[in-house]
Amino acid sequence: MENALSIFVRSIFVDNMIFAYFLGMCSYLAVSKNVKTSIGLGIAVTFVLLITLPVNYLLEVHVLKAGALSWLGDNFANLDLSYLSFILFIAVIAAIVQLVEMIVEKFSPSLYASLGIFLPLIAVNCAIMGGALFMQQRAGLEPTDPKALTSLVDVIAYALGSGFGWALAIVGLAAIREKLEYSDVPAPLRGLGITFITVGLMSLAFLCFSGLKL
């Protein structure tokens, strides 16, 4: 349990998806002009991570890993299907995002309308696929490694933490960009340039968490 808590906190600050690994930058830069839409997108990404990561973890442990298929019978114990991981992960993500889209449309039409095109675009958001690939890498580590994901609870903690960290980053950037609208930025830096410098400085600030021992 305490390992799950430590993974949760580390994923928010130390292994922040945006500032440490640059996952999900494209939609991050596109949506962060406005705080309200950023909050909506942050929640949507967290939600999708929360559903896709455990499903992909179960796939990885019971189907894809070397020797994973031994539950089917002894003659399957030597199979290593890890080369199928990319195709299977992305198919699972695309299917789940489609499902989430249908559910959101049914139960909250206003949220559906405000998210617009960004909801289906979460399927190709690097953060979701990146989360799945990092999870695959970390599930394969020795259990003594502090970064190892050893159970479903760990994976859920990782998903929640990563999503929350991403949401924190995007809302923070949106708040700064809204204020930057009124500043006198030199013409060549306007828009994209000053945004990159801002994210760079935020990333520098988050480096202070790297010494955290949990």
Binding site: L23, M25, A187, P188, G193
Partner: protein, 209 residues
């Protein structure tokens, strides 16, 4: 001659005027993460160029037979298959680079440049121009990657491609490698500097205040 002019623009446009990273704002994730050293950046740039060009050709060939409702899934599956092939190839012939690149090879699947070009160009153009568009965008992406990695590796570790560039005598005189260059933040700030230079030279790209 008009066709050649159009094809030339398709190939050369993304190198500067319509650069995927600096102008279209696509493919940022991997551009920042793999540029700590020059070798992985170059391998990444070449891999993405090959994948974008081939994916563009494949999707362009089948563009009239894909039902609209499964469009994204078909594109994703084609790209995932190509990335799997490239990834296995890299694991076999360039293992140390593939370990350095780790998850970012898999992340080429969700690389916005791919999805962006497939939707915007391959779905409505013939295979020939689609191949050139893929090649141009891949090369535009690779140029930025190599430029950022060049600065980061040179100032961050004094080497280029692993070869020591900064002479040992400088280290003895008190010169130190710039550790900040190895941090993710510098990739962002360097990219901002390149965009600054790019947009100062080409004033059309500046955003209106």
């Amino acid at each position: 001659m008009k066709i050649n002019e159009e094809l030339k623009n398709t190939l050369l446009g993304p190198l500067s005027k319509n650069n995927p990273i600096a102008v279209q704002v696509l493919g940022i994730c991997s551009a920042l993460a793999v540029t700590v050293e020059l070798k992985p950046a170059l391998v990444m740039g070449i891999s993405v160029t090959i994948i974008v060009a081939l994916a563009n050709v494949v999707i362009s060939l089948i563009r009239n037979t894909i039902p609209n409702s499964v469009r994204i899934i078909v594109q994703l599956v084609v790209v995932a298959a190509l990335v799997t092939i490239v990834s296995e190839f890299l694991k076999a012939f360039a293992f140390d680079v593939s370990v350095q690149l780790s998850v970012y090879i898999g992340l080429i699947i969700t690389n916005c440049i791919l999805m962006g070009r497939l939707e915007a160009f391959a779905m409505s153009n013939k295979p020939g121009p689609a191949f050139l568009d893929g090649l141009g965008n891949g090369l535009g992406y690779a140029i930025i990657l190599v430029a950022v990695a060049f600065v980061r590796e040179l100032f961050g570790s004094g080497t280029l491609f692993g070869f020591q560039i900064v002479p040992h005598s400088w280290y003895e005189a008190g010169y130190l490698n710039n550790g900040l260059m190895m941090m993710p933040s510098m990739a962002l700030i360097l990219l901002a500097c390149f965009i600054w230079i790019h947009r100062s030279v080409d004033k059309d790209l500046q955003e209106k205040g």
